[in-house]
């Protein structure tokens, strides 16, 4: 039986492993750094499954494929919270909310009272909000762990031996720039905060012309605050300016964040192609799945499905060719 060798145990590698294995394929995941951890950019993701919000700037394919991701994650045993997304803007940035509403679909406009009803913390702070009821969120680190469990149940083998021959599927993210010259890094910085005073039931996006941020509740008073988007492949540091901007925005959302504890500051670079859309591409004698940009948890299931269609059923609907130029 053919063994499929997947390089990289990030969100792309693990989704592909699970998708292939659940269709009966034999799979080995190679990652010299072992199981999921802080060395991967998937580890630092926001974990929002928010295809409609992403539609503000992303192509339609991200919206359409992303809408299917929620069910996929749930089917693999990841804990997904389906509470929607709330989008707000401060008074003087009100025009941003109108623009956001024009460029997205599947939302309803909430009054100040309705905002307060679904997120009591924000009572009296915003005169309007946009609610995207279909959207969901997950905890990326828990979701990666759930995928590892699921993969092992399905018989997937894991090894730190990076030598792989035969059917190789390259899911190495930015490390694959050695064979994907048009892949670039887009730096992101984020924070993990903790506060027992703050309760949010769903991701909240605060729009701003320069520094849009989002806050994702992770349960037990833990919140993820993200994320910068900087055209740089740098992975190893967060700048004071970025952290200041993120924290200032959180403080503007609610002053209670001023008393929160900074648990962790995360930083890494997202792999992206020039149009910020993911690709399946044959390069360097292997199939490469890459360029997930800021849509890892949203788009990895779709890419994994297409890769499995291609490898196991000979279907050649490669995303790269399927996309309009």
């Amino acid at each position: 039986m053919t063994v499929h060798h997947i390089l990289g145990a990030g969100v792309m590698g693990l989704c592909t492993a699970v998708e292939l294995a659940r269709r009966g394929a034999s799979v080995t995941v190679h990652d010299p750094l072992g199981l999921p951890g802080p060395h991967q950019c998937s580890w630092w993701a926001g974990g929002m499954l928010a295809p409609r919000c992403e539609g503000e700037t992303a192509e339609e394919i991200v919206v359409n494929e992303g809408l299917k991701a929620v069910d996929w994650w749930q089917a693999q045993g990841a804990e997904v919270t389906r509470n929607g997304t709330l989008v707000v803007a401060l008074g003087r940035d009100r025009a941003e909310l109108d623009r956001f509403a024009r460029r997205t679909t599947g939302h309803s406009l909430l009054s100040a009272e309705e905002v307060a009803e679904i997120e009591p913390l924000l009572a009296g702070r915003f005169s309007r909000g946009l609610f995207f009821a279909e959207e969901a969120h997950l905890d990326p680190q828990a979701a990666l762990a759930a995928l590892v469990v699921r993969a092992k149940e399905l018989g997937v083998r894991f090894t730190t031996d990076s030598a792989a021959e035969g059917n190789v599927i390259d899911c190495r993210g930015t490390a694959a720039r050695d064979i994907l010259p048009d892949l670039r890094g887009v730096k992101g910085e984020m924070l993990i905060l903790h506060s027992s005073e703050i309760t949010l039931s769903r991701p909240v996006r605060l729009l701003h012309p320069r520094i849009p941020v989002y806050i994702v509740p992770r349960g037990d008073g833990t919140f993820m605050l993200g994320a910068t988007m900087i055209e740089s492949a740098e992975r190893n540091r967060a700048s004071v300016r970025s952290v200041l901007e993120l924290l200032t925005a959180a403080y503007a959302l609610h002053p209670a964040f001023g008393e929160a504890e900074i648990v962790e500051i995360g930083h890494d670079a997202r792999p992206a192609f020039p149009d910020n859309l993911p690709r399946l591409r044959h390069a360097g004698g292997r199939l490469c799945l890459n360029g997930l940009y800021r849509h890892g948890y949203l788009m990895a299931p779709a890419l994994a499905r297409m890769a499995a269609d291609h490898l196991l059923e000979g279907r050649n609907a490669l995303l790269e060719e399927a996309l309009p130029a």
């Binding site: 700037t57 992303a58 024009r102 460029r103 048009d182 892949l183 670039r184 890094g185 730096k187 012309p209 320069r210 900087i230 055209e231 740089s232 492949a233 740098e234 540091r237 700048s239 300016r241 992206a272 020039p274 149009d275 910020n276 859309l277």
Partner: protein, 256 residues
């Protein structure tokens, strides 16, 4: 239009930030036929070669690059950033931004003059992002600037030409200095107006990058700039108010 002895291939200077993707940016530049691409050194410049792929994309636009010191709040910061830019992009051009207020991003005129003097002394060709103040313009020319870039309105507001009186006055006082309206434009009609007023070029970023269709908006600005230049050269008629007649019209020959 000539700046520092270099003939520019057009009158549209376009920024490279805030686009949905680099691919959309490339297409917007093609549609804009922009003569110059501005790029923020500070934001994307971290580390050695970390932003290389993005810079290669900008270099691939095939037009001169005008690096800027966006995000610098002090003279020292701006000067250091300008030196970094010179090394990175191998150019003496620098769009000098010294920000005086981090909320409105408006220029600090005092720091601007000081930084312009230092950088000119260091061999830079400075493009100062400035308010529309006449005295400030004078000081910047004294400091060695050979081009002026007054704002239309604060960065990213899209409010257009807020102080037409001061802009007209600036244009009239320095008829031979190349002047670029930099920042605050939201609509092509505002760019056309700037050209009709006799400005030499416009520089913008947000209005194109954050439009729903950046490529179409880039083309719209290109057409408006061309229209404004043509109109200026065509010697437009003077406006004349005939709504309130000085004497009763009834019973008079209308040309009397």
């Amino acid at each position: 239009m000539q700046v520092y002895g270099t003939e520019l291939a057009g009158r549209f200077l376009l920024g490279t930030a805030l686009y949905p993707s680099p691919a959309v940016m490339q297409e917007a530049f093609r549609a804009s036929k922009a003569a110059v691409a501005t790029v923020s050194v500070r934001r994307e410049g971290a580390g050695s070669g970390a932003g290389m792929v993005f810079w290669q994309i900008i270099a691939g636009l095939g037009i001169p690059v005008l690096p800027n010191t966006a995000g610098c709040h002090s003279v020292k910061e701006a000067v250091i950033t300008a030196h970094m830019a010179r090394e990175l992009f191998d150019t003496r051009w620098i769009k000098l931004e010294v920000i005086g207020n981090s909320d409105t991003l408006q220029p600090d005129p005092f720091g601007l003059v000081e930084a312009a003097r230092i950088l000119t002394g260091d061999g830079f060709q400075v493009f100062p992002y400035m308010t529309e103040d006449l005295v400030l313009a004078d000081r910047l020319l004294d400091a060695g600037c050979e081009v002026l870039m007054p704002w239309g309105a604060p960065i990213g507001t899209g409010l257009g030409l807020l102080n037409r009186y001061a802009l007209r006055s600036l244009r009239a006082h320095f008829p031979d200095v190349p002047m670029v309206i930099d920042a605050g434009l939201g609509l092509p009609s505002q760019a056309a107006e700037a050209m009709e007023m006799g400005f030499d070029a416009v520089l913008l970023n947000t209005a194109v990058a954050k439009a729903g269709d950046p490529v179409a908006m880039a083309r719209a600005f290109a057409l408006a700039i061309e229209a404004g230049v043509l109109a200026r050269a065509a010697d437009p008629i003077e406006p004349r108010d005939m709504a309130a007649p000085s004497t009763p019209v009834l019973g008079k020959a209308f040309l009397a």
